[in-house]
């Protein structure tokens, strides 16, 4: 809910007072946020965020995992931004760490009519074990589906599930009749 409120506030409040900055800081501190960005995502920005993440995640092994999942999730945000060019509702990316996990959280606006398909896919992924996820991934890889797909033929979400080795947490927060804010949280064990 916080994500939605934040986007909403950013949109409506053109003048940001110092209390707002303080509250945001406190909230980010409380949630152990290492890195975050709210706004429009471009490929240049993604390169910068990836570079910053490399310096923010300790341990090469876990860094590799975080980095892999981060690329897929940021690419989703870019793709989304592209589809809603006419309407620049800010998306958000957060990299944080708590006791046992690094977590990546994203939020972006989607059309309500796309929710059921997305939800189905997320549920399917969440109900599969690692072995079945790898099988599913391989079957898409080997399928004769044409190569012209820019969306990775749906591999991204499966890839993130395999690498994170944890269930997705997600939510849909209504914006208006036709749109919602989709939030996704992916956890990665900080000790591998």
């Amino acid at each position: 809910m916080f994500f939605y409120v934040k986007g909403f506030v950013l949109r409506l409040m053109r003048s940001i007072d110092s209390q707002f900055a303080y509250d945001t800081h406190q909230m980010m501190d409380l949630k152990s946020v290492r890195l975050s960005f709210s706004g429009e995502f471009t490929s240049d920005l993604v390169s910068v965020l990836l570079l910053l993440a490399k310096n923010n995640v300790g341990g090469r092994s876990v860094m590799k995992k975080v980095y892999n999942v981060m690329i897929e999730s940021l690419e989703n945000l870019i793709k989304h931004a592209f589809f809603h060019n006419e309407d620049s509702f800010p998306a958000i990316f957060i990299l944080g760490k708590d006791e046992a996990f690094y977590y990546l959280a994203t939020g972006n606006k989607i059309e309500n009519k796309k929710i059921s398909e997305l939800q189905k896919r997320l549920e399917k992924v969440n109900h599969m074990n690692r072995i079945d996820l790898v099988k599913w991934y391989n079957s898409i890889l080997m399928s004769d589906q044409s190569l012209n797909s820019t969306n990775g033929a749906g591999l991204g979400i499966i890839d993130m599930a395999i690498k994170s080795n944890n269930k997705f947490e997600y939510g849909f927060h209504k914006i208006d009749e036709n749109h919602s804010f989709f939030t996704l949280k992916i956890k990665i064990e900080s000790e591998i």
Binding site: S43, S47, R60, S61, K64, K65, Y67, N68, I71, E72, E75, I78, V134, Y137, N138, I140, L141, M142, Q145, L147, N148, S149, T150, N151, G152, A153, L155, G156, I158, D159, I162, K163, I192
Partner: protein, 131 residues
């Protein structure tokens, strides 16, 4: 037929498919926004190469050095297709050996290599980089 070389860029790897040495290298990070833009010319080149390989004098051994540290999901299918094409060289009398390099701490990359090996029915040599 000329070799194919594409220099490394921010989101795409070094690609060096050298016909004189019969050594193909793919090295770096591969996360193009649109996989098709980067890979389509590569796949087309490989199709020509595979035709060519049967008709003209070339080395009888090809080494493919897979040194990608990372590839995104929209590249995965193209990479599979590159391997599939290279596999077909066997029938042209060219012996392929695949060297899959990975960071010793990157289990996911090793696992991905083993999956490709399995679904392609090819034998890879896995080389752990210590850094």
């Amino acid at each position: 037929m000329d070799s194919l070389k594409i220099e490394k860029q921010d989101t795409t790897p070094l690609l060096d498919f050298n016909l004189d040495k019969m050594e193909f290298i793919l090295e770096g990070e591969c996360r193009p926004e649109n996989g098709l833009v980067f890979f389509e010319p590569v796949i087309s080149w490989l199709d020509v190469f595979i035709d060519f390989a049967g008709s003209v004098e070339l080395g009888k051994k090809l080494e493919f050095h897979f040194k990608l540290e990372y590839y995104n999901s929209s590249s995965a299918k193209f990479i599979f297709n590159i391997f599939k094409r290279l596999k077909s060289l066997n029938s042209k009398g060219i012996q392929l050996s695949v060297l899959w390099f990975y960071d010793v701490l990157d289990e996911d990359l090793l696992e991905s290599g083993k999956e490709y090996e399995k679904i392609l029915g090819l034998k890879f040599h896995f080389l752990a980089l210590q850094n």
